[in-house]
């Protein structure tokens, strides 16, 4: 109550509006991208995840060169050794150093995960966007093509691709990418079907905006949150598909390895030598965690609905 008494009309002064100033732009204008990147930089968790991922990539590239133990050297006298000072993650069932194998395996797993995710992101988003937006007959045909691709057993595709291109990382990638984008395409289509009835799309159409521009400028940014989550979730999907195929003898050939293949091997030794499972599993989990947190940050930065 005391405060209220102290305020009186003399304390205030009329400023009025300077009409010359009112048209000035106070803040520098920012494009959508500048604004999004500024938001992303403010997000500490996302930035830490980004730096962690960069660190992992660098380690996978240089790790095998700077670490004294080669990834494929078999020390048969001390197989299955738990972590020691010499071999900080221990040795596997053939006496190979797990720390060195983590970085070699990371090359394969990260490459498959990231390349696969990027390809399915691009193809799936565009395919689903066109299918949902055009609707009618175009949608029907595009969805049938998608069903056909999913229906053909992909193990056969992997075998045939590796016959023509040779077994290895590139044929695995091609075979996995042939069908992996279909999930995202369906998801984007579903969202676009819903969004294309909204008023702002009608406004854009009335203004004569070209179809491709409506899809890329209006529809896709508004489905961004599901696109990003699907993409970050698809990375472990790729890593495990590769592990499964390697397990069946269709993927990476030993002594080369991948995180998924290491986890699959470790699972058989889990009862007696848990370190053979734990370290690859931790490598996968932390990397996936970083991708997910970065994905959350990207979503918060780019999604127009969450920007207010």
């Amino acid at each position: 109550m005391q405060n209220k008494n102290e305020l009186n009309i003399e304390m205030f002064e009329r400023l009025g509006v300077d009409e010359q100033q009112s048209e000035n732009i106070v803040r520098p204008s920012m494009s959508y991208w500048q604004d999004a990147i500024r938001r992303l930089k403010q997000n500490k968790v996302a930035m830490i995840s980004l730096f962690f991922l960069i660190f992992m990539v660098i380690m996978c590239i240089v790790g095998p060169y700077i670490y004294p133990h080669p990834y494929d050297f078999q020390n048969i006298e001390i197989t299955n050794q738990p972590p020691t000072k010499e071999h900080i993650f221990g040795l596997d069932d053939l006496g190979r150093d797990i720390f060195a194998r983590i970085w070699m395996g990371g090359r394969v797993s990260l490459a498959i995960g990231v390349v696969g995710a990027v390809i399915s992101l691009v193809v799936g988003t565009i395919y689903g966007g066109i299918s949902g937006y055009c609707g009618g007959r175009v949608d029907d045909i595009m969805m049938r093509i998608l069903e056909i691709l999913v229906g053909i057993p992909y193990m056969i595709v992997v075998i045939i691709v590796s016959v023509y291109l040779g077994q290895g990382l590139h044929s695995l990638m091609i075979a996995l990418c042939l069908t992996s984008w279909t999930g995202l395409a369906r998801l984007v289509r579903g969202q676009v079907l819903e969004l294309k009835q909204s008023e702002y799309i009608m406004a854009a159409q009335a203004l004569g905006t070209p179809t491709m521009k409506i899809i890329t400028k209006h529809l896709i940014p508004n489905t961004l949150s599901v696109i990003i989550i699907n993409t970050t979730f698809s990375i472990p999907g790729f890593i495990f598909s590769e592990a499964f195929l390697s397990f069946l003898g269709l993927g990476i050939k030993p002594p080369l390895t991948s995180w998924g293949a290491m986890a699959a091997l470790g699972q058989q030794q889990m009862t007696y030598y848990p370190h053979e499972l734990i370290f690859p599993a931790i490598a996968i989990s932390i990397t996936i965690l970083a991708f997910n947190l970065l994905g959350d940050g990207l979503r918060d930065a780019f999604d127009p609905k969450l920007r207010q």
Binding site: E147, I152, I284, N292
Partner: protein, 317 residues
Amino acid sequence: MVKYIAKKIGYMIVTLWIILTVTFFLMNTMPGDPTQSSMKVLPEAVVENLKARWGLDKPVTEQYVIYLKNLLRGEMGESYKTPGLTANQVIEERFPASLRLGLQAVVVSLIIGLILGILAAFNRGKWLDFLTIFIAILGVSIPSFVFAALLQKYAAGGFFPIVGWAAEGSSLIEIFRGTALPTLAASIGGIATYSRFMRSSVLDVLSNDYILLAKAKGLSKFQIVTRHVLRNAITPIISIVAPQIAGIVTGSFVIERIFSVPGLGRYYVESVSGRDYPLIMATTIFFSAIFIVCMVAMDILYAVVDPRIRKSIIDGK
């Protein structure tokens, strides 16, 4: 609506036919044939005889015509690896277990996933939210074979059997005892995915004006969720669940193997690696048919849940 469904069934038959044709010819371009994939090296004459018996000595196009004729009569052929076992038998005997496991897993993961997702979105930035993100990331980053093996090691052995499956027609408790662990192992991935999508989708919905209006009207939180949030947030979930149902209902190789579930999953893998042509075709057709039905169901569900979509799907605009 009748016209819509009739059209869908027509499309379905054409799609299935294309899938089986492509698979048939791809399958035949795979290196190796059924006579080579067994451990024994067979004498020349035996190989000739086997090929003649299976009709593999004829040109591929002729084989294809014969296969189609048999298929139209409902016969999918006899397994090369297990003489006497027809592909129809495999599906009839193996599908029930896969179906039960798959449906239980879908239901469990949907219920837990949706509830977690909604709770996380309403408590954004609080501990419940972090718990959900933690479960989701754990669920996607631990491979299902590791999770299944951990379950088997630490949860099984007492009340739950280590391996095995409840026989058809056993009591409810027996079914629970036999199927709980495989179901849990099969649903962890789904729980992670659905809760994550639901959280994000609910967050999108919550920023809409109609939610503000619903709050201003004085609706309780429960009413807001059931009447407004759920309906609007569920479309992305439908697009993920529908195709996943096809995959999970037709069996998971890994989980069936770890828990010795008598399901269909192993035939997808073993038929391809053993070049067991009739079984490859049978499992492919079976999976594709279920997948396509799920896709049609997905479109119908969209239309039921969201009146905005009804127009664009059913009227084909």
